[in-house]
């Protein structure tokens, strides 16, 4: 493979300062470092460095998303056949149908998002940040499959520029960029983000068989009552309508396992968020209040975007609480909020996105108090000494 390296080295001067393609330096650098770990050596401090870098970190998250993507593709096909009364499609047919439907979403998300990242890196003179590799995959997975591509492009641009870059780029943002994109669509084009049409491919154009409703389990519970909800098993496996990647708890759990085994995702957040939601659900089961409080507590863990949000969104290290103690508090409060929004908010059946975004904003405050406690310990030591 050394001809590749030779070729790359030969091209390098073109992209350096004064070279013909100087303005594309960040693009060259992005691809070159992707292809080869560079020959850069340590200069000060520790002479050896761990093999772990941002590329590997981010790619692990992308890999963890693949089960959800694969199942999501299949489920698009499956829901389509159900909606339109198709009975003779094989499993592979359903998968390819879905995969080809989601592929444009993925492409638009990456092209728009990475394009902006390249431009910003060039302006700032930074190397490309790998954070968008994850964001770019997350965004299509939390969209309804029928979202128009231009809307997707606008929301991606909004999320990357307003949600991330104006704060200083990856590592500095307050809100999870993928959820920012979704929230932008949610409030700008609510017709495309809610209801019982958008979750099924082709349904917005009409033509479904009569008995079919494309509503998500959460919407069913809200509109038609708990008794009409899909079975727990169906929701766990994921053969229900919903955003592309969120429906299958099994696929998400495989992803969670990858994140936990590699230590890239925070188990503290996943655990405390699950316990928070479960605890709040149980509490509401006991107190009662409205129809919705009677949903079995564990349903909250397998309905809607909870599992996906817990594993892939709330754990974003940049926007979550950063202290270990803070992570428990942040996770638990997020879990509680998800259930509270779901049960008591009359407008939206789902609460995961808003709960996580709200807690993203609160996370620095939680950390502040945790750090203050550490400071108080140190001050106390002086007095007693």
């Amino acid at each position: 493979m050394s001809f590749l390296l030779d070729k790359m080295k030969k091209m390098e001067p073109l992209f350096e300062k004064g070279g013909r393609f100087e303005k594309l330096h960040s693009v060259y650098d992005g691809f070159a470092t992707f292809l080869y770990v560079q020959d850069k050596v340590t200069t000060g401090g520790a002479h050896i460095r761990d093999y772990m870098d941002m590329k590997r970190t981010m790619i692990i998250v992308v890999i963890a998303l693949i089960p959800a993507l694969l199942f999501g593709s299949y489920n698009i096909g499956l829901q389509h056949t159900r909606a339109f009364g198709i009975v003779d499609w094989s499993l592979m047919q359903m998968f390819w149908f879905g995969f080809l439907k989601i592929l444009p979403l993925i492409l638009v998300s990456y092209i728009v998002g990475l394009g902006i990242e390249f431009i910003v890196a060039q302006i700032r003179g930074h190397e490309i940040n790998e954070g968008y590799l994850v964001t770019g995959m997350l965004i299509p997975l939390i969209m309804p499959i029928d979202v128009p591509l231009w809307m997707l492009a606008v929301s991606v641009a909004f999320a990357v520029i307003i949600g991330k870059e104006i704060f200083g780029g990856t590592g500095m943002n307050i809100l999870n960029p993928a959820l920012t994109a979704r929230a932008f669509l949610f409030f700008s084009y609510p017709g495309w983000m809610t209801g019982d049409k958008v979750w099924i491919e082709g349904l917005t154009k009409g033509g479904a068989i009569d008995a079919f409703s494309g509503a998500t389990p959460l919407a069913v519970a809200k509109l038609d009552g708990i008794a009409r909800m899909p079975s727990a098993m169906e929701m766990f496996v994921g053969t229900v309508p919903g955003s592309v990647g969120e429906t299958s708890v099994i696929a998400i759990l495989i992803g969670a396992l990858i994140l936990l085994v590699t230590g890239v995702g925070s188990w503290r957040i996943m655990l405390s968020m699950t316990l928070g939601a479960l605890g709040m659900g149980l509490l509401l089961n006991l107190t009662g209040g409205n129809e919705y409080t009677r949903i079995p507590a564990y349903y909250h863990l397998i309905m809607g975007g909870f599992a996906f949000g817990t594993v892939f969104m709330a754990t974003d290290p940049v926007t979550a609480a950063q202290t270990n103690t803070g992570k428990y508090i942040y996770g638990a409060l997020t879990g509680i909020l998800v259930v509270v929004i779901r049960v008591f908010n009359p407008a939206y059946p789902e609460g995961t996105m808003l709960a996580i975004l709200l807690m993203n904003v609160m996370a620095p405050l939680i950390d502040h108090y945790v750090v203050q406690a550490n400071i108080r310990r140190r001050v106390k030591r002086v007095r007693t000494a």
Partner: protein
């Protein structure tokens, strides 16, 4: 005996190239150097010129802020060169060895001297700089009386020498005298920390006038700063001193023999040397002699000290003032195709995404490649895992980067040295220079506090 303090946090880097427990006879060294960068925060005033003759113990320069602190020649000879770097900043005083003349500071029993007399003797003999203080991890300021003195009697850094082996082979029985010297300098205790199980060396075991502590756990358990944190942490307006155990011997030797003689035993380690073994050498001596015919093939980096905190030197550069080892590693100046995506069978890592984590292998070859590019901080919750202190590393780092002195103080700047953050720097996927940031924070504190 005291109970064992068990530390869970930290990381033993399984680096290949450990020294065999064989002590080689001393090799003659004809070039010595004293490097100014070994003493952070020092502004030096020279006392010699190129061509001057010096004895072992003749002052070469002193501290501008504390003129009584003298830095002396480790050897008898002629000043060959005073090297200056950019903006004429002093870099190194180079001495060609010649003759065997030593300044005689006279024999004395420290226990029969007053504190002032002991201090005077340490200052004029150039032995004072072996005393370092926390906060700031700099040469102790003579005006203060430390709350306590801390000595670490084990080293957990990658490929570090076995201190028991060193102490069993060190020349003369001066350790107790050294402890006696220290006992004259503080009203508090002298704490000596050992690995769980204690020392097998009689001279260490039978020491009097010290309080023994035992630690177990991975690196950085052997860092004296970590030990202080768990024994009696340094708070604002407090000062403690630290001394390397081999320098305690040198302190004793000064009083027992009258001479400034810091000869010590170091480990020569790393996959870049053919025969990693122990050597007798004096700080300042060129390592060219012990490396000659011992360097492996290829492009190597010679480091005075360990791989985490040491200083890069030339293949005939001089051993750092405080160093007890020399590490030689291959340079990592190569490209690796899709290197970030490999399963990592042969790549030791803190991170569990490398298959090597599951393998029982004991040591791994490593080089100086950065393995990635500089990024903003993204990962959280891992730096804490390799810093066994009640400190939030990234919050302290960010306070330093923001120049927020009050917050730095609140978050524990007084307790830390750059070496304590070396592992955070090693594991950092964002490839930040954390040790450099910590030192800049300490420098800022020194400036603000004066």
């Amino acid at each position: 005996m005291s109970t064992v303090i068990r530390l869970r946090k930290g990381l033993n880097i399984k680096l290949a190239g450990k020294a065999e427990k064989i002590l080689l006879p001393e090799t003659a060294v004809d070039r010595f150097g004293v490097r100014f960068a070994d003493f952070p925060g020092l502004t030096a005033r020279l006392e010699v010129r190129e061509g001057d003759r010096v004895m072992a113990g003749t002052a070469l320069f002193h501290d501008k802020a504390y003129p009584e602190i003298k830095y002396v020649s480790p050897v008898s000879g002629v000043i060959r060169e005073i090297i200056r770097g950019e903006k004429r900043v002093l870099t190194e005083v180079v001495i060609d060895r010649d003759g065997n003349n030593r300044v005689d500071f006279g024999i004395a029993d420290p226990l029969k001297l007053t504190r002032e007399e002991v201090k005077e003797r340490l200052l004029t003999s150039g032995m004072w700089p072996v005393l370092r203080q926390r906060p700031y991890h700099i040469v102790a300021r003579p005006g203060t009386v430390p709350r306590a003195v801390f000595i670490s009697a084990f080293d957990t850094a990658p490929l570090a020498p076995d201190i028991d082996f060193v102490m069993a082979n060190v020349h003369g029985n001066h350790l107790q005298t050294g402890i006696n010297v220290l006992s004259r300098l503080t009203d508090g205790k002298i704490h000596l920390s050992q690995e769980a199980g204690g020392s097998r060396v009689a001279e260490v075991k039978n020491l009097t006038g010290v309080e023994f502590h035992q630690f177990s756990g991975p690196h950085p358990a052997g860092n004296v700063g970590i030990q202080i944190h768990h024994i009696e942490p340094v708070s604002k307006n407090e000062v403690v001193w630290t001394v390397d155990i081999q320098d305690v011997v040198a302190l004793g030797r000064l009083f027992d023999t009258g001479f400034h003689d810091r000869e010590r035993i170091i480990a020569l380690v790393g996959t870049g040397v053919r025969h990693p073994k122990y050597h007798r050498i004096t700080p300042g001596a060129s390592v060219g002699g012990i490396l000659k015919a011992n360097l492996g093939e290829g492009n190597h980096r010679v480091i005075s000290g360990n791989v985490l905190t040491g200083r890069r030197i030339a293949a005939d550069g001089s051993l750092g003032f405080y160093d007890n080892m020399v590490t030689v590693l291959p340079e990592g100046d190569y490209h690796e195709l899709l290197g970030w995506a490999t399963p990592g069978l042969k790549k030791f890592s803190y991170w569990r995404s490398f298959v090597s984590k599951l393998l029982p292998r004991k040591d791994y070859e490593m080089d100086t490649n950065l393995h990635g590019g500089r990024r903003a901080f993204v990962m959280t919750g891992h730096y804490e895992n390799v810093l066994p202190m009640d400190i939030y590393p990234i919050y302290l780092i960010k306070a330093i980067m923001a120049g927020d002195v009050e917050q730095m103080e609140n978050l524990g700047i007084y307790e830390v040295a750059e070496e304590d953050f070396a592992l955070c720097e090693y594991i950092d996927p964002s490839k930040s220079e954390l040790q450099e940031i910590i030192r800049s924070g300490i420098n800022l504190m020194i400036k603000e506090m004066n």
